[in-house]
Amino acid sequence: MVLSTVLVVGYVVLLILVAARARTAREYEDFSIAKRSLPLALVFGSLCATYVGPGFSIGFVGRGYNSGFLFLFIGAAYAVQNILVGLLIAPKLRELKGCYTLGDAIGQKYDSRCQLAAGIISVLLCTLFASVMISAGANVLENMLGLEKWVAVAVVAVVTTSYTTFGGLRASVITDAYHFALHAFLFTGILLYVLLFHFKGGAASFAQEAVAATTHGFQTTTPLEIVTFVIAFLLGETLIPPYANLALASQTTKVSRVSFILAGGFAIVWFAVMIAIGIVARPLVAADASEDSILLKLVKATVHHAGYTLMMVALLSVILSSLDSLLNAGAVVFTQDILRRFTLRRDSAALTAGRYSTIVIAAVGSGLAVFVPSVIKGLLVCYGIWAPAILPALIIGLWSKKPRPLAAFLSMIVGTIVGAAVGIVFLVSQQGRVSKVETPAIVPALACSLLAYLIGHHIQRCLGRADR
């Protein structure tokens, strides 16, 4: 217990020291997009640290244990998504002048009403994502230190909010780099340690376990499930506000492009390592263990207690690195797309508003965190809303020569309503049960959003003809 507390306190002190060195943001442009000065390695590290959340660490280890390399093929869709964003969208975003958020980009392509709608949707989603991350971080602290749930929620929220409020995006990115280094060394360290000292049989035995798990994975997963997973991985997290902010804050358009392409490539090797941890756990962890507990049971069974605490610290860092990016992105979107549309034209007022917004989003997220049913279900609800609500309007707007505002507005409203409704219906209908197909909300909502875009496009075109 004492060692656990020392390790956690040491981690937090180092985190605060790193964040303090990032210095306080003194201008709104510094707070929101780090004055467009972020180099390739930091944008890459922040992107990877943000997307490696509980699902891409604990979740993938569990999937590796049960389904072998099946989820490497499914996860490849996530890599493809990042590479496509890097090739097609991130440089276009970075080129836009005076653009601080996705809402700004949508506002420039359509009109201010669309920017406001995009801003409201983005803030709501950032708050929901933040509540899921705060809940996940509180679960780790509860397990590690035996704290009450509300105390754990408060600790996670206060620590993350403290440096994000003052340092803005730069502090978020620099602490993300610290977290990324922790993930990279600790998770690979676990894999190598178990392979060297606990896994018997070498390469042949590993291949045997991998084949058995992968065969089991393909036998127990229907093609429909595979397709829905691939769609969720391909679209669910595409350009959520923290990623968009990194694209906008990159030093150059080249940095913006290359960082997303490298982050996509990194996703593949990361998934391979996580799945391999799941495979080496097969002879060491009992088969009746739940998927989410495989990693912790493996670490408990093989590593000294201090190693277990270090693993918990790594999990906490996985969560905080996603949370700080979400808080900063939510605050910038709220200030830029909502407050600055009506008031707060001055830079200093926007900076102050950005700081207060960070605190408010963290407070609301903490309040909601108590009600989050499970991390994965919470994330899937968020994905089911984000992609249909924003992506059709954004992507068509960036590539179309004459995008029509009514089309974007209808697409965003319909995508949000259908995504939220389907997500809530699935949550309620699955209460107390575990569904095998967890990701269908995104498909009908995306179809409705695209249909609404087409309808809006044609209505406005017809109205334009009638006016002439």
Binding site: A22, A34, L42, G45, E95, K97, A184, A203, A210, T252
Partner: protein
């Protein structure tokens, strides 16, 4: 053929560790440089404005 799976995983592990080292070096540089005035200017200002 399947025996090559483990070496491929070791290679992936090495890539993750090297990525961690690369980002750590960038982090140390950023933390050292961040207090110097004018240390982190954008080299390419945004230039295209699309109506």
């Amino acid at each position: 053929m399947s025996v090559l799976v483990l070496p491929a995983i070791i290679l992936a592990t090495a890539v993750v560790i090297l990525s961690g080292l690369w980002v750590t070096i960038a982090l140390v540089r950023a933390v050292r440089r961040v207090d110097r005035p004018g240390a982190v200017p954008s080299t390419e200002p945004a230039h295209k404005n699309s109506p």
